[in-house]
Amino acid sequence: MNFDMLMSYTPRLLEGLWITLGITGLSVLIGLILAVPVALMRLSSFKILQWPSYFFVFYFRGTPLLVQLFLVYYGSGQFRVELTELGLWSYFREAYFCAVFTLTLNTCAYTAEILRGAIQSVPKGEVEAGRACGMSGALLYRRIILPSALRSAWPAYGNEVIFLMQASSLVSIITLLDLTGVARRIISETFAVYEVYLLIAGIYLAITYLLVFIFKRIEVYLQRHTQSMS
């Protein structure tokens, strides 16, 4: 196994990279959007809203992602008849959908927990100032609480996104040919075990630190108002 031979696999690796990034991107985006209501429900003073959110977050944070993936992908097959009746089977039939579905719920649970912590830590003074300006309810959330929470949650959220990108390597186990899936296929053809895994490790390392860089830049941008003061 030499370097040239590895290079000949570049097109397939790029395809795999595209799937890795696609699944990660979609899950992160949808997961973030869903996390806001889940976090707000958790903070609500109504038990009926609190409990479902609590159990959802608890289940998805308390069990391995690998189990969740198998549960959704192979588990949904056990309910094919019911899902077909609901018109959902055509979605669950696709491994790609199952992967995005599972990763979305997973990251949603973690993100909701991060947001909850951040919302609770918004300084009381800011909220009171907002109220004093006549803001209330949705406007107070939109203008004061959520932006402030986003700022303080950003570093933890960055870690979550990076974690999810790496965790997406697990989708290779439900027949998807992401970066890891392609690597495993190449190995089963060439038996060049460590060469391929080391190469793949390098690619993941590069994506990780690219993400770290991007999140850091956005963090600086978000904190710009504090920079000018010092």
Binding site: G62, F70, V193, Y204
Partner: protein
């Protein structure tokens, strides 16, 4: 509901291996973490470089890839290298050992950060006064720093444990008979995948709950001890 044609008991029996590999890996991670935290603050540039590379690599590469690399890649690499020098060598890592080493290695990096934070929260005056009393560095670590570090690190270590125990599910891929692999066998044999994997998820949830209760109890006990 959870009968699974008689396969349910072997899934539940998988808890034993999950806990064994989890505890061994946690023990290893704590050792790696202590060494890592010491190395990161060391004055020797090379030692610091090693420690930084360690945490950088672990943070940047998926657990699955590291596991496969350890289990399949590493023995092959060593054997190929030995062969090129004219030696015949057998490196045999069984799933338990490969799994423990990989998980321990990965979470050692997280423990490194936990311990670094814990070392930082000890007032610097304590190390200075220990030095003033003429304690050697080793003695100072043992008598003054370590007992306190453990106290400050406990919440962080508890969190590492909660993540680590879930990560052990990955070892099913290299065929260690833990909860997840047993669930997979049961799912495929009975063709009731939802039931099998749901049972597996509940077992992990149970471990999480017990661990959280345990952590809470320990923290309470230690904080009382710390107050005196």
């Amino acid at each position: 509901m959870f009968d699974l044609d008689g396969y349910a008991p072997i899934i539940i029996a998988g808890i034993k291996n999950t806990l064994m590999v989890g505890l061994s890996a946690m023990f290893l991670a704590i050792i790696f973490g202590l060494i890592g935290a010491w190395a990161k603050t060391a004055s020797n540039l090379m030692v610091r470089g090693f420690a930084n590379t360690y945490t950088t690599v672990v943070r940047g590469v998926p657990e699955l890839i590291l596991l496969l690399l350890f289990y399949y890649g590493f023995p092959q690499l060593v054997q190929d290298l030995a062969e090129s020098f004219g030696y015949e060598l057998t490196v045999d890592l069984n799933p338990f050992l490969a799994g423990t080493l990989t998980i321990g290695f990965i979470y050692g990096a997280f423990c490194t950060e936990v311990f670094r934070g814990a070392f930082a929260s000890i007032p610097p005056g304590q190390a200075e006064s220990a030095k003033a009393l003429g304690m050697s560095e080793a003695l100072m670590y043992r008598r003054i720093l370590l007992p306190q570090v453990m106290f400050y690190a406990l919440p962080g270590l508890g969190n590492v444990w909660l993540v680590l125990i879930k990560a052990t599910a990955l070892i099913s891929i290299i065929q260690l008979d833990e909860i997840m692999r047993m669930a997979k066998i049961a799912a495929n044999a009975t063709r009731e995948p939802f039931t099998a994997y749901f049972l597996a998820s509940l077992l992990f949830l149970a471990i999480t709950v017990v661990s959280m209760v345990g952590q809470h109890y320990l923290e309470k006990k230690w904080s009382r001890a710390g107050a005196h």
